[in-house]
Symmetry: C2
Subunit: 409 residues, 2 copies
């Protein structure tokens, strides 16, 4: 046989080449694991990852729910069809988010990320387009990459959220994206919530142009200024998919989330899900459902909101006290993130390197979560306030403030 | 705007069109859910699904492992990097299957199906080829469909397993498949185990043609005639990926499986997995590891083997007693399945319809798990002996025997 490069290697290279070789992406991929490991260390300040506070998980109640399910339900460890009572709990929770749906419109997933991945694989042809904000959840960007998707980006207004008229302009120009992706409450990374008027307008744009909207409601229950406005799906149930999850409000390791979708699409999602990993854990579905049966969820979420407000406000005070006056940010009304803007001349990738090395403080630099080259957001940093106590937040932001001030010299 | 068909609908139709519209596939998709629901009913005979016996799950030990983990490990409910101690347990288990590997070559997955899906998405370009047996695990076929893969099929010898010289012939002919898929022990659906000589030869073919082999070892620990021969990967660690799972030997709802792969590939699998659904449940990883720490696994697997041998032999006796003499089958040395051949004139799809309606007996007809048009295996049926007691097996096979005899009249 002729000597040649191993086929799998060639294939691997071909695959990698189909992916935009953004340094930002690579940075973030290696960073993520480093930051995850670092977050577990006692003397670090993990403002990078959007991890919920582990000490706030209802650990005993979840343990009790698992115990109960295993003691009474002989098929809890078996393969099984999706658990109807859990779907009905989701229906009830979605009603609180302004979305009227039925159990047969609820499709259970292994967390919100699987919801994103399945919808991307369902809607997007290889090499196709999707509209995303130019700073957005990196999990969506990761899901787009294997399909060699070219994102069409719009900006995000820091007061009112996604620039929906920009979406309209993209569509008016004749582009045929597979979907429009948005995060209506507690935007990741911008912290902003989409205004009521924009929610209605986005639904109208979807309907007019017949383009699906995927709204990612992963942080939806973590709203700190009274009830959030109804979701985009409340304005159009035909063109809007809503993704939800128990990861942030119960615990990530349960791996239970959902998509609200038209019934016909649910059947197709089911085939794709089955080919991906068969079931959502039967045990986890039943344990979450048993936990929700106890009625403890509302109080638990109220506790989370109270604790996260305390952390959010501690971070706000610390930013005020320790960051230079040129830094600009808004206090988020939902979610887990501050989005801090520094003067244009600062590249937050550089700030991160120093912050990690000298102060053991982590955050996500703008470029790492940019859908394009990241130049517009190279001077931004995403700071998560969820994973530290108010005292640790004060200490960490003080340290980070030193690095930022140094960078501004 | 011009009236036009909704974009998502058009896209959906395009996607469906890219999929081979085999009636067998459609039958199986709807069947699967029907059979899964039926399996839960008391008076049915669920010989269709490859479900492990729920009453043999070590339910108390798993409950205790979950309790222990939740009581002592504060991050068990959090996002986390893959759990090293579990990887080391897998290393030890793989050694028992003849595979020498290190923890850094073990990639944890949400069950074997996710291992299949990730490898398919890693190795296969849309529209590419893969070599599979003409009757094979339908989860692999499902994973191939969204990529519009055209399977290249080889037959399976019912004494010695996959026709590996057929694989060589396909490759000699110049085809460049992304991989070759096989199930070395307790083949699904054929029940056969790959001969020692063929394992070595398949590894040699992979090496010579530089084509990866995916070996699916989902049933590997369920071998009933003493230790199984070393896996294909034992013969080549560069070109062979081994997929394993705790679903059949502990419990499916834990959703914990693995791939043994070269370290460089593990890093790429990690990115693809992260974009799919982030982590394997942190809690499940730790609970499985805690269970394995107790040392109870070997005894548990010994119990499973004993019980499954009793069921296998009960089914063998019942087939002997109640099936017509024209029916041909071999007693499987591993796994969960009999593969029964009826005379060519019988289509087991027809037999299934009658068996379900008149006798409440389910099985998988050959066409439903065929990689091609299914004509070669249209007279076969896959019978799973795992989910019923010996008494139920005797009663169900007696009923099914009546239907089969009727079909032969």
């Amino acid at each position: 046989m002729k000597a040649r490069e191993p086929a799998a290697k060639r294939r691997g290279i071909a695959k990698a080449a189909a992916t935009p070789p953004l340094a930002a992406r690579t940075l973030h991929q290696s960073l993520l694991r480093e930051l995850q490991a670092m977050a577990a260390e006692k003397d670090s300040f993990p403002f990078a990852l959007g991890m919920p506070a582990a000490e706030l998980f209802p650990r005993d109640a979840i343990a009790e729910a698992v115990r109960l399910v295993l003691s009474r339900d002989p098929v809890a460890l078996q393969y099984a069809v999706p658990f109807e009572p859990l779907k009905l709990h989701v229906v009830k929770r979605m009603a609180a988010r302004g979305v009227a749906c039925t159990g047969s419109q609820v499709f259970l997933t292994a967390g919100a990320q699987q919801g994103i991945n399945l919808l991307v694989r369902l809607l997007l042809e290889p090499g196709g387009h999707a509209v995303v904000e130019d700073a957005t959840y990196d999990g969506m960007l990761m899901a787009l990459r294997p399909l060699a998707c070219r994102p069409l980006t719009v900006e995000t207004d820091l007061e009112s959220g996604m620039h929906v008229e920009g979406v309209d302009a993209v569509l008016q120009s004749g582009a045929r994206p597979a979907f429009v992706y948005t995060i209506p409450d507690g935007h990741n990374p911008c912290g902003v919530s989409l205004s009521v008027a924009k929610r209605a307008r986005l639904a109208e744009i979807a309907r007019t142009h017949e383009v699906p909207v995927i709204e990612d409601d992963a942080y939806g229950f973590l709203n700190y200024s009274g009830p959030a406005p109804p979701l985009v799906r409340a304005h159009d149930a035909q063109w809007v998919f809503t993704i939800g999850s128990f990861s942030k409000v119960l615990a990530p390791s349960l791996r239970v989330g959902w998509i609200v979708a038209p019934e016909a699409v649910v059947a197709r999602l089911s085939i794709l899900k089955h080919s991906s990993d068969l079931d959502v854990s039967t045990l986890a579905q039943r344990a979450v459902s048993a936990y929700l049966d106890t009625g403890a969820f509302d109080n638990h979420v109220a506790t989370l909101r109270r604790e996260y407000v305390a952390r959010r406000d501690a971070m706000g005070r610390a930013l005020e006290a320790h960051f230079p006056s040129e830094a600009r940010y808004r206090v988020p009304a939902a979610g887990l993130f501050y989005w801090v803007e520094l003067p244009r001349r600062v590249d937050t990738n550089d700030v991160l390197r120093v912050a990690l090395a000298k102060e053991r403080v982590a955050f996500v630099p703008g470029r790492a979560i940019a859908a394009d080259d990241g130049d517009r957001v190279s001077n931004f940093m995403r700071l998560s306030f969820s994973a530290c106590t108010p005292e640790r937040i004060e200490a960490g932001i003080r340290r980070l403030g030193r690095v930022v001030k140094e960078a501004l010299r």
